[in-house]
């Protein structure tokens, strides 16, 4: 993601304030994962928008995942059945995000 246009200073604060139970909201059980990869085109604000809009994640969770993609190069954004992961990967591609399906624990 391109280094972003100045936005909310509050963001850095809320991110570190994430309650542990917030983290678990997307760690639902399932043998398959949807992975989103970093790329130099997608705006940070767009990636957050997609995570909130498509997965229904809270702003905090969506921003946390976006930062993970940005800093680590990738993030697991959903888990579940193979069908669910396939649907999610296809949806990420429809938004122009780089995404792959992965078996849990593969990497």
């Amino acid at each position: 993601m391109p280094v972003d246009l100045p936005r909310a200073e509050a963001r850095t604060r809320t991110r570190t304030d994430v309650a542990p139970e917030e983290r678990t909201t997307l760690e639902t059980e399932g043998p398959w994962c949807t992975v989103v990869w970093n790329d130099p085109v997608n705006l940070m604000s767009y990636v957050v928008f997609v995570f909130r809009r498509y997965f229904g994640y809270s702003r905090v969770v969506a921003e946390q995942l976006m930062m993970q993609v940005h800093e680590d190069g990738r993030a697991i954004v959903s888990r579940g059945s193979r069908e669910k992961a396939e649907t999610d990967v296809q949806a990420m591609h429809s938004f122009g995000l780089q995404s792959t399906i992965e078996k849990a624990g593969e990497s």
Binding site: M1, P2, N38, P40, R53, H93, S94, T100, I101
Partner: protein
């Protein structure tokens, strides 16, 4: 001169663009749709294929089914970014292409077409472009897909590459100012950079208005 998107009291989203900006955005949307169709082998034959799929003749239906299933791996680097492999396992990636690539392409082309018709309806001169929520979603996706294509043409690989491209352009302008030499290749990439910046700004402004 473009004015950023804002939310209007009735909930719709509006921005102002001048005639040239509208024409450029419509053109790059058209070119992106054409590029997808050409690279994936989706052409006017699509309709014929659909008719064959509904044919009374079982052999024609079978033919159509196989032709429809053929999902080419994109050969153009920009189209590969729009239709990335869905798995690191090549066999699985191939299967997903076969199952989903055509639907994905239809969706992307529909979004790009929608942008073109919205701009067309907005008229030629400087004026307001108004979107409802659903149109805004199409516009976001389409602008993003066009930016992906332009980024590929600019050779953007890593975070921060656009800043480098922009910096090199400015240095180039200074050198050119001193020597006053205009070469065509330079002018071409200057336009791509300008359009990429316009689309990035417009997309960001729409995201803020939606927030």
């Amino acid at each position: 001169m473009a004015h950023a998107f804002r939310r209007r009291p009735d909930g719709s989203l509006a921005c102002r663009l001048d005639g040239e900006e509208k024409a450029i955005i419509a053109q790059v949307a058209q070119e992106t749709a054409d590029l997808i169709r050409a690279d994936l082998g989706i052409d006017a034959g699509g309709d014929a294929l659909r008719r064959a799929a509904e044919s009374e003749d079982p052999l024609r239906r079978l033919e159509a089914e196989f032709a429809g299933r053929e999902a080419r791996t994109p050969s153009d680097s920009a189209v590969r970014r729009l239709f990335p492999a869905a798995s690191e396992d090549p066999a699985l990636a191939e299967e997903y292409r076969r199952l989903g690539q055509r639907d994905l392409a239809d969706g992307k082309i529909a979004d790009l077409r929608r942008v073109m018709s919205i701009l067309d309806a907005a008229g030629g001169g400087h004026g307001e472009v108004v979107l409802d929520e659903d149109e805004a979603l199409s516009v976001l996706r389409a602008l993003n897909d066009v930016r992906i294509v332009l980024a590929d043409r600019l050779g953007l690989q890593r975070d921060g590459d656009f800043d480098t491209v922009r910096m090199l352009q400015q240095i180039g302008e200074q050198v050119e100012g001193a020597e006053s030499s205009g070469d065509d290749e330079h002018v071409g990439s200057d336009i791509v950079i300008a359009v990429y910046e316009l689309l990035s700004w417009l997309q960001e402004s729409l995201l803020r208005a939606l927030d």
